[in-house]
């Protein structure tokens, strides 16, 4: 969060700016908001008060492919390092390159996930943040279902990196446990809406569990949530906070599928130009998130019938802060492809590199799925 008076970074829970003392906008001021309550899931028998009730404890499932051999759990025990990002040499066990001395990135600070030739994702610390609080979890099931989940940990709440990783994996596992849905389009859409709600609930349950495990700190770890599923010709997405999903079709205008739960969205809703709103220092204040202190951890839902080939992009604000408009993202991807980035993972790395070249002011997560519609 940034102070609207002086531009200094401040903590999410702060009421006043540390740098200049200006009043900071509260994270969820009802007077500023006109967010309709999330529609209850009337036909969900598990929709009772307990956020984790009857949700399959799918985090016990282990991803069978796609994490490029990375066991991220090492981050919480022994550090495991990728080769030096600056010179490619081996990294010593103290975390510094044996040749150029650059501090190595841990797997938690930068990792990629790749599934086949159509799904690739990267999660990167960026440059100025000390930790990578973003997380992602992706899957392609045996039945061909594509799952992309991104959670952006709230930097100012300690241990949000743990919450975001646990939450994203939990949601992925819920989604990947489902078969493709048969039937009429409207029925399939409803089924995915339910499943995405369950996935979000499972994610929230994990974020809350991290807080519990830490003894319920006053600033509980928290994160945003966005998940997307590709079920043949259907793209379904659900989100909570300001991480986004975009549909970027070949040779046609792209569109942003999600609508941020943020003060910026409220400004746009009240008539402010998108560029002005996104430039406003308070626009990044999110109004929904997952975690023990969330007032409203329910997601919004959006689905789309895909009628032409294109890219599904799921990302954190570390990317869209630098390129928000769908056409800008399409242009960047076209440039990256022209420069030789052909695989989804290479394209995702290109977009993350672009954000880092622009200063890497936030963690960056980019998940891409190539969609070629097939009728069910």
């Amino acid at each position: 969060m940034t102070c609207s008076s002086c531009g200094a970074e401040s903590l999410a829970g702060d009421t006043f700016c540390e740098a200049c003392g200006a009043d900071l906008a509260p994270p969820s001021s009802p007077s500023l908001l006109d967010v309709p309550p999330a529609s209850p899931i009337v036909d969900d028998p598990t929709a009772d008060g307990d956020p984790t009730a009857d949700v399959p404890r799918t985090h016990l499932l282990t991803p069978t492919s796609g994490t490029d051999g990375v066991d991220l759990d090492d981050e919480f025990g022994v550090d495991v390092f990728a080769p030096c990002a600056a010179c490619g040499a081996a990294v010593a066990d103290d975390g510094f390159c044996t040749q150029c001395g650059h501090k190595a990135r841990t797997r938690r600070e930068h990792w990629t996930e790749t599934h086949g030739d159509h799904v690739g994702a990267v999660c990167d610390r960026g440059i100025t943040h000390a930790r990578n609080e973003d997380a992602m979890a992706t899957a392609v099931t045996d039945a061909g279902l594509v799952v992309l989940v991104v959670c952006d940990g709230v930097t100012t709440a300690p241990d949000s990196d743990r919450a975001s990783l646990a939450a994203s994996r939990a949601a992925r596992d819920v989604l990947a446990a489902n078969p493709p849905v048969e039937g009429a389009f409207a029925a399939r859409l409803s089924a995915w809406e339910r499943t995405l709600h369950l996935a979000c609930r499972a994610a929230n349950g994990e974020a809350v569990a991290v807080a519990r495990a830490l003894g319920d700190p006053p600033e509980p770890p928290s994160c945003t949530f966005v998940a997307a599923v590709v079920d043949r010709d259907l793209v379904a997405t659900a989100w909570c906070g300001d991480s986004r999903a975009y549909w970027l079709p070949d040779g046609a205008p792209g569109e942003q599928l999600s609508l941020d739960h943020s003060l910026g969205t409220e400004m746009i809703r009240r008539g402010m130009a998108r560029s002005d709103a996104e430039a406003d220092a308070t626009s990044h204040t999110i109004t929904r998130w997952l975690g023990a202190d969330s007032l409203d951890p329910t997601p919004e839902f959006r689905a789309l019938a895909v009628d032409r080939p294109g890219w599904l992009l799921v990302c954190s604000d570390g990317l869209w802060n630098e390129a928000s408009e769908p056409e800008r993202l399409q242009a960047l991807m076209a440039d990256a492809a022209a420069a030789g980035a052909t695989s989804p993972t290479a394209l995702a790395e290109s977009l993350a590199a672009f954000a880092n070249e622009r200063g890497g002011r936030d963690n960056i997560t980019v998940a891409l799925a190539r969609c070629v519609p097939q009728l069910p």
Partner: protein, 426 residues
């Protein structure tokens, strides 16, 4: 089994484009044990007593040397290989009677003491020859800690110039040598050269009656060095330059020129034997700059015993745009930079004084008085007060004393490298 710990004191934050990284690595040894007993190889000790003609003038000197040698012999633990030599125009075996080392026991201790009591003076001071003879003795000893005490009262004469340098070249790495000058007719620079080359200490014992206690402490200290040989290993990144590696506590000793390159990015420095003690090293590395936000290791400083890394300290560089971070000076780095300067201005000040350049001497010793005062180095402040009258310590203004005992000047010179440890914040 000895254990080592390393602690790093530094401000790792550099401003954009900055390249010079400083860190103080403090290394502490515990559980060193007794010399020659923990490593499985016996230690070796040689005592070299100057018996040149001048040791009889006054006779109290040779008498004190006999008593001191006996006390030192008493401190050598059983099982240690040892010898006593008398140094004059040549080096002569005192005990054992023929060139070689004896194993310490009740019997050899008594025999050695008797031999020492028969020491007589006569002849010249040929320290180079003594060092060479000691080197030959140590070369017969098993590997392990090898240590000598050298006592002299005069300057080298009776051997060609260059004999000492040649002897030191052969002795380097074979044994460590603590040097003591008795009286004030010896030359600080000669003994400092020996002590520096052979990783030992140098000090003055102005009054013969103080010699016994000094030898006792010196030998007891040598016997407590259970870690026979440790090296300081410094890694610095590709494209960087190690500007200096300096021991800064308990005394200043610039190691930079003693580096042995063991791989393209790694150099090693000998540190000799260790007892339960702490030593601080100031490391300065010039690294290629990296963009703001980057973190890079500037030096990996390790203490190595028998090729095993016993402790490791990391000196880092983090480039930052935050001037609150980048302008901070680490107190340990600042303190030891001052202590090294203090030793330097004292030595140069005394050199100027003895060359008759009183103006330069006054300025430099004034600077020394201020540095010693500001850093709370009370011992150096006391020693300085015997050589200069302090007019204004804050401004660093002093007057050279008209009457100065030569031994006071030598004490200031030899002890100029002794540093005070920084008071560490809890």
């Amino acid at each position: 089994m000895a254990e080592f710990q390393a602690e790093v004191f530094q401000n790792e934050y550099l401003s954009d484009g900055a390249t010079d990284v400083h860190g103080v690595v403090s290394i502490t040894c515990s559980g060193a044990g007794i010399a020659g007993q923990s490593s499985g190889t016996a230690a070796a000790e040689v005592i070299i007593v100057d018996t040149s003609g001048s040791m009889d003038m006054p006779p109290a000197k040779i008498a004190a040397a006999r008593r001191a040698a006996k006390v030192a012999i008493d401190e050598i633990v059983d099982g240690t290989w040892f010898a006593v030599m008398s140094g004059h125009t040549v080096a002569q075996m005192v005990f054992p009677p023929h060139p070689g080392l004896a194993k310490m026991s009740d019997v050899t201790r008594r025999e050695a003491s008797e031999a020492v009591s028969r020491l007589r003076s006569g002849g010249a001071t040929a320290i180079g020859a003594w060092i060479t003879a000691a080197t030959e003795l140590f070369n017969q000893a098993p590997a392990g800690q090898r240590h000598a005490i050298l006592l002299t009262d005069g300057k080298i004469e009776g051997e060609p110039a260059g004999a000492l340098a040649a002897a030191l070249e052969r002795a380097r790495g074979v044994f460590q040598c603590d040097c003591r000058g008795i009286g004030s007719d010896w030359v600080v620079e000669e003994l400092r050269t020996i002590a520096t080359a052979l990783l030992g200490t140098v000090d003055i014992v102005a009054a013969p009656e103080d010699l016994e206690a000094d030898f006792e402490a010196m030998m007891r200290n040598a016997m407590s060095r259970g870690v026979a040989d440790a090296r300081l290993r410094v890694w610095a990144p590709q494209g960087s330059e190690v500007m200096f590696v300096r021991q800064v506590a308990p005394q200043v000793d610039d190691l930079t020129s003693r580096a042995t390159r063991i791989s393209p990015l790694v150099v090693e420095f000998p540190t000799g034997a260790w007892s339960d003690e702490s030593r601080d090293y100031h490391v300065s590395v010039r690294v290629p700059p990296a963009p703001v936000g980057n973190e890079r290791l500037a030096a990996r400083v390790e203490l190595v015993v028998d090729d095993q890394v016993m402790a490791k300290g990391l000196v880092k560089a983090i480039w930052s745009a935050d001037t609150n971070l980048t302008t901070r000076i680490d107190p340990a780095v600042a303190h030891y930079t001052g202590q090294a300067q203090l030793a330097d201005v004292i030595q140069r000040g005394l050199a100027a004084k003895s060359a008759g350049d009183e103006r330069t001497a006054t300025v430099l010793l004034g600077e020394a008085a201020k540095l010693a005062h500001d850093s709370g180095n009370e011992q150096t402040t006391r020693l300085l007060a015997k050589v200069v009258d302090v007019v204004d310590v804050e401004a660093g203004t002093v007057r050279l004393k008209q009457q100065v005992a030569k031994s006071d000047e030598m004490a200031l010179d030899t002890r100029s490298t002794k540093t005070t440890r920084i008071r560490r914040e809890p």
